[in-house]
Subunit: 373 residues, 2 copies
């Protein structure tokens, strides 16, 4: 019989292991679960996870480590998905029959439309209404350095969080903030969804360097060398459309440049010059990051399918034109042979077919539980 | 008083000087004209042009060399524009008051919609009806090796030519063919316009290598290294749309791959594999061609503004969707800051606003002289 835990962590990738280490060190009891048992095996042997870096060197035991989802989530106050967007559907469907109304679901990290998508899948699977926290960035900067050890080089300085439905906002945020005191509460999940800056930054950089990436298997400095003036102008065009969508919903989302500067990623000089090209050039943390080796990685897969595609889905009810976003979705599709307007998080998957701006605003307020369409 | 000449060559760039040399050597009398007198000065001093390469070393005198357009075209049987698409508007407007109905206008080379565009400008300027020959590729492979000497490395094996209006087809082609016996007559100017393969090949390659081009100032093998599988897939998507537009107008335009193979640019192996990636990889003549140094060159300027933009203008009346063409037009615009849907050869400039497929077919048959819209 599984006892009470503070958090059930679903997904034993970088983010999940970092959460198990960090939360465990800070006194929270955690269950760790992963759909493929192989990945979990070394942690089961160990009875926990190892950590290094900003946390210091430590072994952090876990309350339980299991590939059995029902065992992992039973008795968990918070159920935290630490899988990429493409893995959320699996866990949402699997959780539907077992999630309890008092459990809080946290999507760490989220992309665009993640909370709405997960909520719809839970409803489809017969789950009772639950509160879902959507975050706009992963809470850790980390990478695995051995099969059982995570190197946590930092925690995000701020984490924007929003709650679906809005009625659960204060209570859910208070519970979430116990885990991550640096969290900042946004008005609703449109605010987090429309501040997905990876979706602004990555597809232009990948697609406008597609030849270079494929020819060299990504052997160049992706940000420092690959973000040339033309690429930066395209990023700016996508960013302007993203902000227009946010504005149409009454949300004041910061520009990429403002966000990048405030997060400490670039110089004041570049920020003052209002130049994305200069800002990326001056970004010390990104200086030596190599390009991905091909177009199969998450900079396209995730940031188009779960970034640009749902942004477009939110733009349409608000009647905001997104020609640059559309162009990059199409280009990603013809370049990779994957039809992202079919496989991504579309209008249909988000339940926004025929929706008006007011419908969307109501949907993010009450969630799919309160909307009969 | 200017006497009779076979050809007035307008534009003293590579194509114009090659034409003056080649046609002169083959016994045609030529006048040579250029809008900027500076460019013409060394030829005036010399009284002709120098040539080397496939023609052998020779000095070729010209009947007259003058920056005065009326002097150049008076008494010319054929008026041949040898300027890039962006220069055709200037010459068309300037020619309007002086062109004679019996003169044949040749656009060498043409892009997409060139003959229609020039015809409209002539009509606007009050010119009488004239026959216009549109070619789908420049007739020479050449480059200047000194201010007065052209190196002609080859003549195009075939040159597709079409005539506007169709009524003048046989007569105009017979006159044109005296100059270029390798010419092949197409049904109408849609056939040449919609076989603009530079517009298919260049914008994807430039825009999907934009970062590489800007970071290295084009220091890589543009075709051999830059046409990776993803870039080739995008070229294929654009090519499929181009062929769909042609098909909608009843024109059987060859695929890029077929054209490239038949022109002798690639191996049978690559052609048989039906792979644009393999075909470009196997292209010996293109093997060592470096990329352009920036996005300001004609691979974008000409092939978007006078290639993809007018292709889209022809697609709309035929109700053919061109999402890939549209994406590259938009991407070129945001990457360079030039709004190509404003500056390019648009629906409006081609006189196709509100036109149906039948209207376009009639327009290419009778030209703007016969159409009262």
């Amino acid at each position: 019989m599984a006892g009470r835990v503070d958090v059930a962590i679903l997904g034993a990738g970088n983010g999940g292991i970092a959460a198990a280490a960090d939360l465990g060190l800070r006194g929270f009891t955690c269950a760790l679960c992963n759909r493929s048992p192989e990945r979990l095996e070394p942690f089961i042997q160990l009875g926990g996870v190892e950590t290094t870096g900003a946390t210091g060197d430590a072994f952090v035991p876990a309350a339980r480590i299991t590939p059995d989802l029902s065992e992992a989530v039973a008795g968990a106050e918070i159920v935290m998905l630490t899988v990429p967007a493409s893995g959320q559907e699996f866990y949402a469907r699997a959780l539907a029959p077992m999630v309890k109304p008092e459990q809080l679901i946290v999507l760490n990290a989220s992309n665009t439309g993640s909370a709405l998508h997960v909520a719809r899948l839970l409803v489809e699977g017969g789950a009772p209404p639950v509160a879902i926290v959507e975050l706009n960035s992963l809470t850790y900067i980390c990478r695995m350095v051995s099969p059982t050890k995570i190197n946590i080089s930092g925690r995000a300085k701020t984490t924007r969080a929003a709650v679906l439905p809005t009625a659960a906002r204060e209570d859910a945020f208070a519970r979430f903030r116990r885990l991550y005191p640096q969290a900042e509460l946004m008005e609703n999940v449109l605010a987090t969804s429309l501040t997905n800056l990876n979706a602004v930054l990555h597809p232009p950089g990948m697609l406008m360097n597609a030849g270079w990436i494929e020819h060299t298997a990504g052997n160049f400095f992706y940000y420092y060398e690959g973000t040339t003036p033309a690429v930066a102008r395209a990023i700016e065009a996508v960013d302007a459309e993203r902000m227009s969508v946010a504005t149409a919903y009454g949300i004041a989302s910061p520009s990429f440049l403002d966000f990048f500067y405030r997060a400490g990623y670039t110089s004041e000089r570049a920020w003052a010059a209002r130049s994305i090209f200069e800002a990326v050039k001056d970004s010390t943390p990104n200086r030596y990051i190599k390009a991905q080796a091909n177009l199969e990685g998450r900079y396209i897969k995730e940031d188009v399918a779960f970034g640009l595609v749902p942004m477009r889905a939110f733009a349409e009810p608000a009647e905001v034109a997104t020609p640059s976003i559309n162009a990059f979705i199409h280009l990603a599709s013809i370049a990779t042979g994957v039809d992202y307007m079919e496989t991504g998080l579309t209008t249909r998957r988000l339940g926004l077919e025929g929706a008006t701006r007011t419908d969307v605003e109501r949907l993010v307020r009450v969630g799919p539980w309160g909307v009969r369409r």
